[in-house]
Structures are given as structure tokens and as C-alpha cells.
Amino acid sequence: MRGNEAFGEGALRAGCRYTFAYPITPQSEIVHFLARRLPEAGGVFLQVESEVAAVNMVFGAAAAGARVVTSSSSPGMSLMQEGLSYLAGARLPCVIVNVMRGGPGLGNIAPAQGDYLQAVKGGGHGDYRLIVLAPSSVPEIIELMELAFELADTYRSPVLVLGDGVLGQMMEPVTVPEGDSPSEGDSPLGAQRGQSPLVSPLVSPSKPWAVTGQGDRPERNIISSLHIVPEDNERFNRELEQVQMEIRRREQRVEEYRVDDAELVLVAFGTVARVAKAVVDRARAGGLRVGLIRPITLWPFPDETVSRAAARTESFLVVEMNLGQMVEDVRLAVNGQKPVHFYGRPGGTVPTVREVWNEVRRIREVSGGEEDLRTAAGPNG
């Protein structure tokens, strides 16, 4: 399955039946996939006039109690930031996919990781954080899309799934269980599957705040991000802070690869983590003790893992497809305990195994090894 299709498949398996989308390369296959599959599944696919409209339709559908997704790529994500701030302010669960491309501005359609800071530090106005998940393979895309909806509903927060053009376009074998995923039965709209979209869907009893028409409820529901009295707004921000602390405490996810005895720890996410993993294997084959930390949640950043590694290792090398964004979070987590090096390529270029390997050798002051490298580099070299 293609990565972009996996974003759609994961959303479907999570019981999501609504998407409001605006096409942009290199993620348009998500839109194509959902345009085909959602109506079959009794859902609603709508291609709309802009990213601004799409994210605000997500706002409406989420407020109405539905599981809803939209996707875009970097320039489109910038347009969606208004909506993301409002979604955070109204505490509405939803999932947004960003398949990153080269920037700034129109940039290009090649894979990049230049939106890290925008994704994890807010992006829209105000004091908020979004949960940000970063898959690095096609099967993991499906897994993390399902997780994204669970986390969104659990914490009443928008969840951002951050991929890039390589991940979106690559094809990998995927095994998915037959039939509905377990989460689908519990989802608000699971029961609606196969029915006409004109039938009003059930709304999960776990979303008693949803705006559905008052019906028999004793109180009407209001979805708003407005707290005109500063003290009220501060109280809301404090509540949000509590939720975010809980997320930080409970939801840090990370893959550690040969880190235990590593003298140098690579840190990379998404596509670049695959390159870094190949470098780790080569380094090990050459007798260098190198490991990899791959953050799966970019927010909350897995600082406990990094901090723990800092106590044992001698140095870090952060590798990114940008000029140095996640490296800031790594440095915060390392907190001066050990040197943190950086290697990155911005603008839609992907670091090669050879380049990263050279950085590793430079840091570890290893000379020679060209023969090794040729074997190491493989097709990526």
C-alpha cells in the first residue's frame, strides 16, 4: 500500500467517516483514497474551496461529535493554522495530516521536515500544543492514525500526524486484520457504517459536550473559544496546561534502537530515521557503538528517553530534513550533559546514508573506512 493511502485507511479503520479536503502535492492520494472509500463506508467526502474552509468544516464536524480528518501539505498547513488554534481553544478532537514538502513559501513538492517547529510549538496563535505523531513506515502510518483518533478523543485535542513526501509516496506491504478494527465498534459512527450519509449518525455518549441540538438534554451545549474576561481565559489556559502536562506524562512514545551501549546516539524522526537506522547498522558492523532514538511523538517530545540516554552516551547527532528544528528539543532534553551535533538538509533534499555516516565518523574521529561505506551505503549511498 502507498503511504498516502495508508493515512486514509488508518482513518477509516479508526471509525472516521468525515473528511473535508483541499488537494495539494505530495498528499493528494489521501484525498483520492477518501473520495473513493468514504462514500462506500457511508461517510461524507467533500472537496472544498480552501484549506481555511476545510479546517473550519473539521471544526464544525468535530463540534457535532464526529470523528473527522483532513490532510494537507506545508503551504496548506500554514493556511490551516487559524483553525488549529480555534480547535485547540474549543478543545475539539480531530486528526490533521501534514505530508511535509520543501519550503518556505511555495518551495517544492519534495519531501522535507521544515514544519517541525510549526507543528510542535503551536503554529497558530495562543498558548497551546498539539499532539504530534511521526510515523516512519507505511504500516506505522495506519497504526498511528488509529492512535491519533484515540488520543484526540481521550484528551479532546486536535492531533497532528506528520509525514513527508517520501513517506506519502513510498509503497510497503501492509497487513491489516480483516473486517472492522476493534476501535471502530466503539467509535461514534461505527454503527452507521454502510448506511446512507443522510441518516444522522449516532454520537458517542462519551462526547456529551457535542453540539447536536439540545434534544432532551437539560442544558444546551456551547462550543466556543471565547473567554472575554482575562481571568477566565487564564483559567482556561491553566486547565489546558493541566491536560498538556498529563499528555506529557503519559503519552511520550519513542523507538530505541541499539541505544543501551551506544557511544553516539542518533536522533531522527520519520523518513530520516530510516536513513539513520541504516547508518547505525553500518556503524555497528564497523565496530562503532552507535544507536538511534526515534521520537514517535514529536509532542510530547520523548525527553525522558533522551535525558536517560544522555547519562550513558558520549554525544548525540540529530539528523533532520531541515536546518535544525527538532535539535532544539533534543538540546533541551540533554540539558548540557553531552554535546549535541546536527546534520540536516533543507528544502526538499534527503540526507543520504553516506552523508550521515561521514558525520558519524567525523564526530567519532574515525578515519578511513571508505570500503565499509560502499557496502554500507547500498542504494541510498
Partner: protein
């Protein structure tokens, strides 16, 4: 004693914050009355704007959403697509609908989204301090057109009803006014019709209501009503610009 007049159930009893002489209160009441008359309060979802009516959710006694500036039609689209059997309306001012939210409005109409937009046009930005709106009249003085709106510089007022009436799936588009009791009654009738057509699932419905802004126009409430009648009506003629085919036949 027989009660002959009461507050609509679809309004809360919260005192409104609007300036003296502003007709938002009347328009709120007309919307609430239509909801009451159709008996749909408990299945109605309202979407409010940014601007003077930002607290609409405190006044309409139904489930409510406060949307970002201009995005109410997008938010309402999301809501209505999830709950096609609910009654959904947006309540928007001219800055909200005709400036920043023009794209959302036009495209909601083009898709024939089955909700009702109440568009309150007072030819000025109220909440932000009386700046020029897309609907500001030529020659009208505002805080950003202190010498009067110059059409050469900033164009002419956008006639939203006329514009939307070119869209096939905008099934009901009407412009009404609330500057005197006769027009208030007509406005109420138009708003109710819009909700009825929504209930019948015919398509997008919008009622543009000409409204006053005594504070930012720098007029007394009474003068403001006169200014609306004298200055706005010639530029924004009243009428039903679009209605369903069977209505045409009547």
C-alpha cells in the same frame, strides 16, 4: 389574564450587550420567533460570528457554536453534514460575511448547503470601532474613510443578495429591513420562510437584514433608522431575489 406577548423560548433571558438603538436585538428576536413557530428549538444548532454578535451563543437558547471570523458557513457545513436532520443557521455581520468570509459564503451557497444564513448588514464594522466594511456606502464616513468612502480608491459596496442570487443552489435569497414595524414583520416572514425551505432540504437560504449602527454612524437611534431608510434602501433594494419555483408561481 390572557398572555398575548412573550419572549420567544429560543431566546435566553440574558440581557443583550448591544448598543442602544442597534437592531441586532430585533433580528435576534425574529430568528428566535421563527425557530419557536416551527417548533425546532431542541434540534437547532446556531453558529455565531466574530464581531458585534460574537455573544450570540449567550442569547439564542439552543446548541451554539462560536466560529472564527468569516468561517461560520464552513463550520455550519461541517455540522450539517454530520447532522443532516438538524436545523442549522449562521448569524453573521457584513465584515464577517462579505469581507473575510466571502469565499466560505459563496461556496456554501454554490454547494447548496442546507442551512440558513442570517446576514446583518449595517454598512460598517461595529465591534472593531467603525471602520469601512465591504458594504459601506460611497461617501460614507468611517474611522478608516474619514473623508468619506471614495469609490475610486476602495470600490463600491458589495450587494451580497444580488451576488448570491446568481448561484443556482441558493434557493432563497431575500433582503429585508427592520427600520419600522411594517418591515420588521416582513423581515420575520422572510426569516421564517428561509428556515422552512431549509427544513424541506431545498438548498442554501440567506436573509440579508439591513440594520443600524447608531454608535458608529454617530447618530441617535431615531436618526439611524432614518439614515437606513434614506441612504441604505436606494443602494440595497429590498425584495426576494431568489425563491423556490413553486413560490414564483404563487
Amino acid at each position: 389574564m390572557k398572555k398575548i406577548f412573550e419572549r420567544p423560548q429560543a431566546l435566553t433571558d440574558k440581557p443583550m450587550h448591544y448598543c442602544p438603538g442597534c437592531t441586532h436585538g430585533i433580528i435576534h428576536r425574529l430568528v428566535a420567533q421563527a425557530i419557536d413557530q416551527l417548533g425546532v428549538r431542541t434540534r437547532t444548532i446556531g453558529v455565531g460570528p466574530v464581531g458585534c454578535a460574537v455573544f450570540a451563543y449567550e442569547y439564542f437558547n439552543c446548541d451554539m457554536i462560536q466560529a472564527a471570523h468569516g468561517r461560520a458557513p464552513a463550520v455550519a457545513t461541517g455540522v450539517k453534514r454530520v447532522h443532516p436532520d438538524r436545523v442549522v443557521f449562521t448569524y453573521q455581520g457584513d465584515g464577517d460575511l462579505a469581507a473575510i468570509g466571502m469565499a466560505e459564503t459563496v461556496h456554501a451557497a454554490a454547494r447548496g448547503e442546507k442551512f440558513t444564513t442570517i446576514f446583518v448588514n449595517n454598512a460598517i464594522y461595529g465591534m472593531t470601532g467603525g471602520q469601512m466594511a465591504p458594504t459601506t456606502l460611497v461617501g460614507q464616513k468611517t474611522t478608516t474613510t474619514p473623508y468619506g468612502r471614495d469609490a475610486e480608491e476602495t470600490g463600491e459596496p458589495i450587494k451580497v443578495s444580488e451576488l448570491l442570487s446568481t448561484i443556482d443552489r441558493a434557493v432563497y435569497v431575500a433582503r429585508v429591513s427592520v427600520h419600522n414595524p411594517r418591515h420588521v414583520i416582513q423581515a420575520g416572514r422572510a426569516i421564517r420562510k428561509a428556515f422552512e425551505f431549509q427544513l424541506r432540504g431545498l438548498g442554501f437560504t440567506m436573509v440579508e437584514v439591513l440594520s443600524t449602527c447608531p454608535t458608529n454612524w454617530g447618530l441617535s437611534p431615531l436618526e439611524a433608522l432614518g439614515w437606513l431608510e434614506e441612504k441604505m434602501l436606494p443602494v440595497f433594494p429590498l425584495g426576494e431575489f431568489r425563491k423556490p419555483a413553486e413560490e414564483e408561481a404563487v
